[in-house]
Symmetry: C2
C-alpha cells in the first residue's frame, strides 16, 4: 500500500491512504491519524489500512479525493531516528579518487553511516531554504526504509524483515561546511540541514520483484533545473543492502519502530547513468580535467527526484523542490514548474568553480 | 515545575507532575498525556501544569500518590532530536593531552557536537545492557536542555530563551568502538548506545540563581559502585553555554520543540573534583603515569548520578543504573542497591588496562 501525510496544521499531519496510481487518496479515519501510530502498532493497524487501500484502488472508497502531492508533508514529518548510510561505494570511490585519497579496505566490510537530525523533515514540494549559496548547496537522491522494532544484535538477513516502508529521500547537503565538520571527527551537524522525502511511503510488496535481497532494483531519476542529470539503478551496485545497514545500527542498540535508514547517494560505475548529487559530478570532472567545472546549486534552482517501476509508473511520486534564500517574497507554496518531458538526457551546467569537495561521501 | 513520565506500557508513557521535594506525583490527566504534547503546545499546556504543580506542592492535590523513580521512563522516552555537545573543554584537553595531541584553536570558538540516536532512551533505573565488556563501557554524567521551537539562525543569547526544561543525562559510551568510528569521519553510531535520563525534567526557574547565563551552576555527583568518583561543578567551566550549543545546531536548520541538547561530560580543571566518565580518569592516569590504571565498567557495576541544589535537595532525582549483559537471569526491575551515605570520596578502582582511549571527547 501507499501512505501519505497531509498538511492539516499539526506537526505530524494527517494520515491518508493513496491509490497505487497516485490519483486518489482517502483519510485513514478510524484507523490511525498519523503514520507513527501505524508503525507503533503495525500488526494491528496495517491490515485495515490494506483493506482501505484495496477499496480505494477498486474505485469503491466512499470519501476518496484527488491526491495532490503539493499538500504532502514528509510521510513522517518528524521521526525518532534518521540514520543514513553511504552504501554505494562507487560514490565514495569517486569522491576519494578526485582528491587523491584511497578508500580504506574496511569500507567494503563495514558500512559508512551517520546519525542525522529527524525533528524537522521537509515535504516533497517544500522549498529548501538556506542563508547562503556559499555553503555549497547540493541535493542527494536516495532511497530509505522505515523499520519496525529491531532488537540489539539482529543480523543482516533478519533485519530485512523489519522493513515496513520505503521512501524517496533528498538528503540536502552543504558541501563547503562538510570538510570542517568531518575534520572535527564528530560527524555532520550543520552540513546536513533538513532532509526532504517523497510524497508517499510504500510497503515493500508494492515494488514486486524489484525489492530483492534488501535492495531496490529500479532506476532513480534526478532532474536539476529540468535537465535529467541522473538515472542510476539503485539495485545491483548497492554495496550494503538495507538489512546490513539496519544491522550495523543494531549492533549496540535497538532500533524502535519508525526509524528511518537511508541508502546514501545512489551511484553507478557507468558514468553515462549520470549522477545523484552535484559533488559526484564535480569529482568526475576533477578526475577528468583536474578541477571541477560544475558549481553547486543556486537560489532558484530546482531539483526533481523520482523512481519509476518497470511499467513506467511513479512508485513514490516525485520530490520537486526549489532552492531558496531564508526569506523571500515568493509564496509559501512550491513554485516548481512542471518538468518538460523533452528535457535532454544527462547534461550538467558549467557554473564555475569551488574547490572544496573535501568529504562528500554521505 | 518538575515533570516525569511513568511506565504505563505505552511507548511514550504517561505524564505526571512531581512535587518539588520529589515525594509525591500526580498524573496530568485532562492537560496532557505525554511530555512531547506539552512541548508541542507549551504556551497552552504548561500553565495548567504549573497550577497543578503548585497544588501538589501545597499538599492539596486530590489524587496525589507517592513518587517512585523506579516507575519512571526517561522524561522523553523517545525524542525527535538528541544533539550532544562537548562543552567542557577541560575534558577535551585532558583526553588529547593523554594521547599527545593538541587541541585545535578552533575548538575554543566552535563547539564540538554530535547528533545522537533518539528513538530509544533509558529510564533512570533501567539496566544498561551490552553484548560485551570488551567494548569499553563508560558512563558520562551530563546535563541537557529540552528546547521549544528554534528558528534557523537564532543567536546564542536568544537561544537561551528557548530552553523549556533541564534534565540529567548518562550518555553511555563504548570507548573501544569510538576510535574506529571517528576515524571513518561520520561520527558516532555504534559507540553511542541508548542514552539514559534522570527521573524528572525541570523548568529553569526550579534552579533559581543556579541557572545563569545558559549554564547550571551546581555540582554533579557521580558514584561508581557506591564510591563518589566525581563532584564537578557544571557551571563556570562550561566553555560553551547551552544557548551557544543550540545556536550551533540552528545555524542551518530549525530545531523543533522537544529537541534535547546535551552539555557533554562535565569536567573541572581541579582534579580533586574527580571525574564524570572513566575515560577522563584514564586520561589523567596516562598523563601522570604513562598509562591508564583504571579499567572501564564491568557487568554488575553500578553508576549513580545526581545533582543537589544549594540546600542539598536533589533537583532531578538520581540516575541509578546497573551495567548488565544483554540477557541475564536478573529481574527486569532495577537492582541498584541503595547508595551508602558513608562511601568515601573520590577514589577509583584499579582494574587493569586497555589502551584505547583514542577519541573520548564526547
Amino acid at each position: 500500500m501507499k501512505l501519505a501525510t497531509l498538511h492539516d496544521g499539526s506537526r505530524d499531519g494527517l494520515l491518508a491512504v493513496v491509490s497505487r496510481d497516485l490519483s486518489t487518496a482517502h483519510f485513514a479515519t478510524g484507523i490511525a491519524t498519523t503514520l507513527q501510530q501505524v508503525l507503533d502498532d503495525w500488526n494491528f493497524r496495517s491490515p485495515p489500512l490494506e483493506d482501505l487501500y484495496a477499496t480505494l484502488n477498486g474505485g469503491k472508497a466512499r470519501h476518496a479525493f484527488p491526491f495532490n502531492p503539493k499538500h504532502c508533508m514528509a510521510p513522517l514529518p518528524r521521526a525518532h531516528q534518521w540514520a543514513d548510510g553511504s552504501a554505494y561505494l562507487n560514490h565514495v570511490e569517486l569522491v576519494r579518487k578526485a582528491r587523491g585519497a584511497e578508500v580504506p579496505a574496511s569500507f567494503y566490510e563495514d558500512p559508512l553511516m551517520y546519525q542525522g537530525g529527524s525533528d524537522d523533515f521537509l515535504g516533497p514540494q517544500e522549498p529548501a531554504r538556506f542563508a547562503s549559496e556559499d555553503w555549497g548547496i547540493d541535493f542527494e537522491s536516495e532511497v530509505a526504509v522505515v523499520t519496525g522494532d529491531v532488537d540489539i544484535g539482529t543480523d543482516a538477513e533478519a533485519a530485512i524483515d523489519s522493513v515496513r516502508l520505503l521512501m524517496l529521500v533528498n538528503d540536502w547537503s552543504l558541501r563547503n561546511l562538510i570538510p570542517g565538520e568531518l575534520a572535527k571527527g564528530f560527524g555532520f551537524l550543520q552540513s546536513k540541514p533538513a532532509t526532504a522525502f517523497g510524497p508517499v511511503a510504500v510497503t515493500p510488496d508494492e515494488l514486486g520483484p524489484a525489492w530483492q535481497g534488501g535492495r531496490v532494483h529500479l532506476a532513480l531519476e534526478s532532474r536539476w533545473n529540468k535537465h535529467r542529470v541522473g538515472l542510476c539503478n539503485a539495485g545491483p551496485e548497492m554495496t550494503f543492502h538495507f538489512g546490513q545497514l539496519i544491522a550495523h545500527v543494531a549492533k549496540t542498540r535497538r532500533l524502535r519502530a519508525g526509524s528511518i535508514v537511508g541508502s546514501g547517494t545512489v551511484s553507478n560505475k557507468d558514468w553515462a547513468n549520470g549522477y545523484s548529487c552535484v559533488a559526484e559530478k564535480r569529482a568526475i570532472e576533477t578526475i577528468e580535467h583536474g578541477a571541477p567545472r560544475t558549481g553547486f546549486m543556486k537560489f532558484g534552482d530546482t531539483i526533481r527526484i523520482e523512481m519509476l517501476d518497470g511499467d513506467g509508473h511513479s512508485v513514490f511520486g516525485a520530490i520537486e523542490q526549489r532552492v531558496a534564500p531564508l526569506h523571500d517574497p515568493a509564496p509559501a507554496e512550491s513554485a516548481v514548474p512542471p518538468v518538460a518531458e523533452t528535457a535532454p538526457a544527462p547534461q550538467a551546467q558549467a557554473q564555475g568553480d569551488s574547490d572544496n569537495d573535501g568529504a562528500a561521501e554521505a
